[in-house]
Point group: C2
Chain length 218, copies 2
């Protein structure tokens, strides 16, 4: 039987949704690993960000519908996601992970996590199913599971890594093309575009390694 | 000196823009090959397609702004694209390639090609710089260069491959994870999501091969 992974996307676009190269890299790696996957996103509206001017617009978009662009239409509301149906959870990054899936972008270690995202992370964790988190998504894992002493990476030491320490989580520095494994808590993280000037094949290499490790652990 | 590639995107999303996995796969492969790249798209408005219902909406979106989501903001109007600045041209697919970059989606071999896209394809061709076209984008190459007897692939024999023959171009069948090289005309094509049920790592493999070949030829 193929392993089954659930992938949670925060939209489509690095400024207001899921980072696209990170999301696609994770899906390519799951496919390469022979894992089946289903894609989920929250059914919520946000104000779109113009990706040329990098400014907020007044245009409302739906995170689930936008994420469907990456998923090629095959996507479900995160409300339907239960760990019982899967072997692993994968969460790509992008600012959307810090603004739609939680409020880390404004509140750091005091962030509120989207209730369904929090439920899903706890569900996979309690059932000892591995969680792979990419870029800023490890901050969600830290916010939900910091008290458990999980270890994650968001790359180099930074404001983000210092906020992560405030959640109770540990932070390990990591280059863009590598990943960090917390075997005890079954958490795999890779920094990806936390290195904003990284090259796309380096992003792919780090995410591919993290996803293959996660599938192996599942 | 690194080779330089120009990448032309038709938006962001397989139903009304550039196919996202194809676009990202091409960018990862260019990066792996050590090539620098710049990303371009036409500055034009389209009616967005809902990627869950797969139905047309009344919402206008700008192709250049949407493509900027894949490009992470670093994108230019295709009007600024000249072959003199580059060594190769790469065109991912998606329905947007057949509806925004040309009218192949409705007119087949009689398609009108967006004037700037036609100019760019002719410019690279006349200057003997290789062109890599993915998925349905080879139809654009066939429409512009069919009279030159170029050889392309859109995968298996299909309505699309039969329309391509009407342009004067030749068609070679090709599996999803491979590519076809026309050395005489310096055209490299790979079918990608012309096989709509293909797995993402197969899509990546075919595009990676095509892009590495294109960069080598440049």
């Amino acid at each position: 039987m193929n392993k089954k992974a659930a992938v949670v996307l925060a939209g489509c676009g690095f400024k207001d949704g899921a980072e696209i190269t990170e999301s696609v890299s994770a899906l390519i790696a799951l496919s390469e690993a022979g894992a089946d996957y289903s894609i989920f996103a929250p059914d919520m509206n946000i104000l779109a960000i113009d990706h040329i001017k990098l400014e907020k617009t007044n245009e409302e978009r739906n995170v689930l519908k936008e994420a469907a662009r990456i998923a090629r239409g095959k996507i479900q509301d995160i409300k339907n996601l239960k760990s019982a149906d899967f072997d692993a959870l994968v969460m790509p990054g992008g600012f959307g992970a810090a603004t739609n899936l939680c409020s880390w972008g404004t509140d750091g270690a005091q962030a509120k996590v989207h209730p369904e995202v929090e439920r899903v992370v706890l569900d996979f964790y309690k059932n000892q199913k591995p969680i792979c988190a990419i870029c800023i998504a490890p901050a969600i894992v830290a916010r939900v599971l910091g008290a458990q002493g999980v270890t994650v990476t968001v790359g180099a030491e930074s404001e983000a890594s210092r906020e992560i320490l405030k959640t109770g989580a540990l932070h390990e520095t990591c280059p863009v093309d590598d990943f960090v494994t917390d075997r005890e808590h079954r958490i795999v993280t890779t920094p990806a575009y936390m290195y904003s000037e990284a090259k796309r094949h380096e992003i792919f290499k780090g995410i591919r390694g993290a996803v293959l490790e996660t599938v192996e652990m599942a």
